[in-house]
Amino acid sequence: MVDATQEIDTDIPPAEVPELELYHPKSWWTTYVFSQDAKIIALQYSGTAFAIGLVALVLSWLIRLQLGFPGLVDFITPEAYYQIVTMHGMIMVVYLLTALFLGGFGNYLIPLMVGARDMVFPYVNMLSYWIYLLAVLVLVASFFAPGGPTGAGWTLYPPQAILGGTPGGQQAGILLMLASLMLFIIGFTMGGLNYVVTILQGRTRGMTLMRMPLTLWGIFTATVMALLAFPALFVACVMMMFDRVLGTSFFMPALVEMGEQLKYGGGSPILFQHLFWFFGHPEVYIVALPAFGIVSDLISVHARKNIFGYRMMVWAIVIIGALSFVVWAHHMYVSGMDPRFGFFFATTTLVIAVPTALKVYNWILTLWRGDIHLRLPMLFALAFIVTFLNGGLTGLFLGNVVVDVPLSDTMFVVAHFHMVMGVAPILVIFGAIYHWYPKITGRMLDEKMGRFHFWVTFVGAYAIFFPMHYVGLVGVPRRYVELGDPAFVTTPVHGLNAFITVAALVVGFAQLVFLFNIVWSLRHGRPSGGNPWGAASLEWQTPETPPGHGNWGRELPIVYRWAYDYSVPGAPRDFIAQDDPWPQPPARPS
């Protein structure tokens, strides 16, 4: 299994680049703005994602204020409420999580972790970011358009998405949303092809696929999935736009709106749902798999122990990725499709629980007999396991078709997907930022602020979403601007809702401390050195920190082992870097 003792070819020719000048950017603009350096592009992606994410955070406060204290904020009309809910969901899933994991972490980590100088197609990579930025700007524009943004729900189900009863349906809102999604997908495809090709073709000497850190396996599999899944959303957007603008009837059957016969006929609203969820379910794993990969590395580094069952972890990622393409209709158990599909999709959905559970076991078995340093990245990783496990287990409720029937479209679903693809991946993002910030900036994030941020976020987020399941169990539907006091709610949920709202506001404000920490530590953080955690993977072995343009100076590293040689018996330190030839002498004197 471990390559540490295996025969190493000492005659590997050097990959020396004597003259890098040609490739270096020549002006401030091409260095920091129209940059083709994956590291700068990563920061641009991350900055933009965080900026639009802040909008989504504020929107979530408004949602919670309305649910916890109905009528308190008087501009939250039903129209505004549905617009807020829609934009919050779409921003978080697509423009924040997808962009941050793949565009942000993908860009920063792929070249460094595989030992490449940059992405394979740097120009296309740059273009990818600028198109993403355009997509975000179009999305933001819809807030200022006449009629405001669309209020169709992030799932954009037709026919209501393009009819007058929905905010933005007959105005610019839905068109801007569709246009923005199409731009996003075009931009993402450019970046995604880069990530895949770089991982397949750009690895340095000795970096076999099975020596790659799991972070890369997660990002790689997620990117392949995204390249296969996003086209389904793209065509759905095109068809819906045609229905709305040209009067085609892809998704529109004969229908009567407010007493008026519309000119549509023959289309199928359920077709849209199939297309949407053929994208939408893989999307969950497009967010989750990079998180799985990253959290594996965080746990391994900070427990000073190799990730347990590396090969199983790799195969689990690949199998989850593949299976996630045959489970989409579990979002549609009560959609009106032939209910007999339920047998198939319930089975595939619950089967996916097996490789996912194995990943959880292996994370915890990595802790077993480890040397656990409870630093911030490790704390966030532990919190991730708790929230992901919780959200994964409630997935067994919703995936098991008949149990889904009473729970679907209730707050139980909202609690489930926030726990599993909201809170859990975001905890990983935080952990990852505390982990890699020293590599990116050369300074440590402030520990005190970090601990405050961790405790409030973890405990607070759990306090928000755990009780929310029970609101749904009572029967409270999701996407209700106001429930009132219906008879089926035997114990009122107003108090519980108010509690959840207060918790959400507190957690929200704790994120401002995090953002402040990021800015403050740029100047005032403790200098970190090149490898503060004693990590073995390649990105910590760069000659400079932060890594310069081209990453590796004159000579690319040679990889001798996998990324997890921690606490190897007999080794001089408790980690052996991937480019360390121990116990052999170096391949050639450097």
Partner: protein, 274 residues
């Protein structure tokens, strides 16, 4: 160290909240107690897994936290252990799936004796149609909808003449008699949702969807729309009244048929209709 304590608190707190909090599902009023049972089984199995995994994790964090001079054990993998864990997980998943699919089979198998009742949704109200004495609903189409024919019943289909039409009113159903609920929407997606019945299904314009249930106790139950249908979504409420047989027949006798509703229009029409 604090994290190990907090992990234990999270488990204990979650279990206590589950057991002690007053928030639980509303008392059931249909035959779908099976669904509730499956849900309870799922709570037990998943709760057990959650508690044991998180507590084990808390133990690991406590036991193997960093100490001066300590070194982690080097152990890349263990096929035996991974195989065992796979098998145990697969068994647990099967234990959830099997009863689930069994109940789902019942859910999708409508009994022959179930009476039809049609629910028609539009932004933002509920209407109903009962098959009348012939036990059959007449054909319908969105194209036929107009001010005089709000539900789009086909006037050419003789089966539709005796259909009972309840426009924007309350539905009554007899207790203990299975019904197949046929669902139709004339504009956007809706979802006929009565929490006490447990069952729900989307209503899709252009097609007829269905579910079946048997009401098991009398009383009034609130109907909610469970699929986002525009700005009036949260206010799209209705009521279903489950009656004893006598009350039901009395109510049914007062409801107009399609033929009766259409008659004044026919008299006023310029050309005689068939």
């Amino acid at each position: 160290m604090a994290i190990a304590v907090v992990l234990v608190v999270v488990v204990v707190g979650s279990v206590l909240f589950h057991l002690l909090s007053p928030w639980w599902w509303t008392p059931i009023a249909s035959n779908w107690g099976y669904i509730d049972h499956t849900l309870v089984i799922t709570f037990w199995i998943t709760g057990l897994v959650f508690a044991s995994v998180v507590l084990f994790m808390a133990y690991c964090v406590f036991r193997f936290r960093h100490r001066e001079g300590a070194r982690a054990r080097y152990e890349p993998e263990s096929r035996r252990l991974e195989l065992w864990l796979t098998v145990i997980t697969a068994v647990g998943v099967a234990a959830l799936l099997t009863p689930g699919l069994f109940v789902w089979h019942r859910f999708v198998t409508v009994p022959d004796e179930a009476a039809d009742v049609e629910v028609i949704a539009q932004q933002w109200q509920w209407s109903y149609r009962l098959p009348g004495e012939d036990g059959r609903l007449g054909q319908s189409s969105a194209r036929l909808i107009g001010p005089e024919n709000p539900l789009g019943v086909d006037p050419d289909d003789p089966a539709g003449a005796d259909d009972v039409i309840i426009e924007a009113g309350d539905l009554h159903l007899p207790v203990d008699r299975p019904v197949r609920v046929l669902l139709r929407s004339i504009d956007v997606l809706h979802d006929f949702y009565v929490p006490e019945f447990r069952a729900k299904m989307d209503m899709v314009p252009g097609m007829v969807t269905y579910f079946w249930f048997t009401p098991t106790r009398t009383g009034a139950f609130e109907v909610l729309c469970a699929e986002l249908c525009g700005v009036g979504h949260a206010f799209m409420r209705g009521a279903v009244q489950i009656d004893g047989e006598a009350d039901y027949q009395a109510w049914l006798g007062e409801q107009p048929t399609f033929a009766a509703l259409s008659r004044p229009v026919r008299l006023g029409a310029a050309a005689p209709m068939r």
